[in-house]
Amino acid sequence: MNKKSASAFFTPAVAISCIILAAVTIISLFAPLIAPYDPTATDLSATMLYPSREHLFGTDQTGRDIFSRMLFGGRTTILGAFAIVLFSMAVGIPAGLISGYFGGFADKLLMRITDVVISFPTLLLAFIFVGIFGRGLHNSVLAIGIVYIPMTARLTRSLTLSEKNKGYVEALKTSGCPTRKILFLQILPNCIPTLSSQLTLDIGYAIIDLASMSFIGLGVKLPECDWGAMLEESRNLIFTRPLSALAPGIAIAVTVISINILSDGVQRYIDPTRRKLKRSVLRFG
């Protein structure tokens, strides 16, 4: 990235989003070091405290420190979302590359399987998986990850289709380069710009989906906590202590908004049709 294009990418909004996301990531990685209290430790002599220096966000009905729970909840939500997207990439990208490059039976099979998975709207399939294999963070991550695979696989496949007929692939083939290397060292790197924009977006969706699962009681189970489960627990505080009740939701919203701004920025940067827009404004004055 040279100087000029870097300034085109880092608009003020994108820069602020990057700072927020960096902060959220660092906090979730180091939550155990930062958190002043054990997020699961109850203290019945200190329930429903208002925010103070000891308890930055106050305490909940069982005297747990809300600030510490926010940090650990964020850790679960953010790392969970990353795990979901990584899992969908680990399966979806190779599947998409192979089916796009070789075509034929493997391709048809992949497309039919993805058709079936995609015909389950939103998280229905994830709900059913968790119902069968049990609740908990690991199963929720796997279940949502499975729902995400088809879209990643299809995107990779369509990118591979447009790459594989280009001259450089022909040249590599005739020069005897092994197919494995063509796929993963030549075609894949050319798919990464478009994939990265989509996968950034997917992390945002994964945060919302994981929180939704926990919110309706099919996600994490005690003593695990994430922002969705916290929001569910604090529902009855909505009239008396709205700020404490809504804090996990605000955290979700701020994180996902930042991710979407970043993804928009990445897309603007890599997509030439978006860059043309400026010229059109000039043309019509």
Partner: protein, 323 residues
């Protein structure tokens, strides 16, 4: 007669795909449920003790004495007659559990969809026409926030704010009469609609900006057609296709997708019945709701795809797609 790229063959292909997908989904859901290893008889008994005869009787009643593939065929044959069998908890027809839930979820979806279409199209058009100006910047920022906030958070926020401003508003009224129902469903519908409005407006905005930059719009303008006509009768037409494609997926997902918002407003919709049935291993109900939801989703998206193909020949020839 049937040439390649003809509308009739496209429709037939889509209907065949529709039936095949439903079949595959029915197989998947039926055999997935059996993987859990929970004994249906234990669910039916719900912890009560029973002697051998009762258990045998129950097995016969629910068809559990048959081999698995026969159970599957019985289930599919029943569905084709519109019969989803008996549920495990109350031993009642599954339909009698589902119908009252649909009576809440369907009006909710309908209201949310109407609100979405009524608001998102004008917002998207305004953003595109005023591209880069203050109105666009403000509305686009709101839309970005709208697509980023989960529905249940928006709902809780709405309750918190409204209860501060107008303490007299009740969020959990009765369902007495039409007006009572509207009163109860309006706020949840708005909360569901907000996310879809944001998404729809973004689709319209980005498509409209490309269209307003295209040659045919340039020629229309050069020919002296008023800007209002250019926007509404020329450019907007092309936006409707990707818009309806995105919206059919969104609305089709709501049957179960509305569950988080229903939960916040304590609405006993289809989603909460699904969650209960999943948590209670009540397979017949889970299976029935899955099939109904997938059917509704496929019906909506297939219908919209066919309409799009009828309008735009490039789609059915595979030269363009709006996914």
């Amino acid at each position: 007669m049937k040439k390649r790229g003809g509308l009739a063959s496209y429709i037939l292909g889509r209907i065949a795909a529709f039936v095949m997908t439903l079949f595959a989904v029915s197989l998947l859901i039926f055999f997935l449920e059996r993987l859990s290893g929970v004994d249906p008889v234990a669910v039916v008994l719900g912890g009560k003790r029973a002697n051998e005869e009762t258990i045998a009787l129950l097995r016969e009643r629910f068809g559990l004495d048959l081999p698995l593939w026969q159970q599957y065929l019985r289930w599919v044959a029943g569905m084709l007659r519109g019969d989803f069998g008996l549920d495990f908890n109350y031993q009642q027809p599954v339909w009698s559990l589902i119908l009252p839930r649909l009576g809440i979820t369907l009006p909710l979806i309908l209201m949310a969809s109407l609100i979405t279409v009524a608001v998102s199209v004008p917002v998207g058009v305004v953003c595109a026409v005023k591209q880069g100006k203050a109105a666009d910047t403000a509305l686009s920022a709101l839309c970005l926030a709208g697509v980023s906030c989960p529905g249940f958070f928006v709902s809780m926020l709405a309750i918190a704010v409204i209860s501060r401003i107008a303490p007299s508003v009740r969020f959990t009224g009765s369902f007495s009469g039409f007006s009572g129902m509207m009163e109860r469903l309006l706020l949840p519908a708005v909360c569901i609609a907000l996310g879809m409005i944001a998404l729809g407006a973004r689709v319209i905005r980005s498509k409209m900006i490309t269209e307003l930059d295209s040659d045919y719009v340039l020629f229309a303008r050069a020919g002296g057609i008023s800007e209002r006509k250019v926007v509404f009768s020329k450019a907007l037409k092309s936006c409707i296709i990707p818009y309806s494609s995105v919206m059919s997926i969104q609305i089709g997902s709501l049957l179960v997708g509305a569950v988080t918002v229903e939960e916040v407003f304590s609405l006993q919709g289809l989603g909460s019945l699904l969650i209960d049935s999943i948590q209670g291993s009540n397979y017949p109900v889970t299976q029935a709701i899955t099939m109904i939801t997938v059917f509704f989703f496929l019906l909506l998206t297939t219908a919209v795809d066919i309409i799009i193909a009828a309008v735009d020949p490039r789609v059915r020839k595979g030269e363009a797609s709006y996914e």
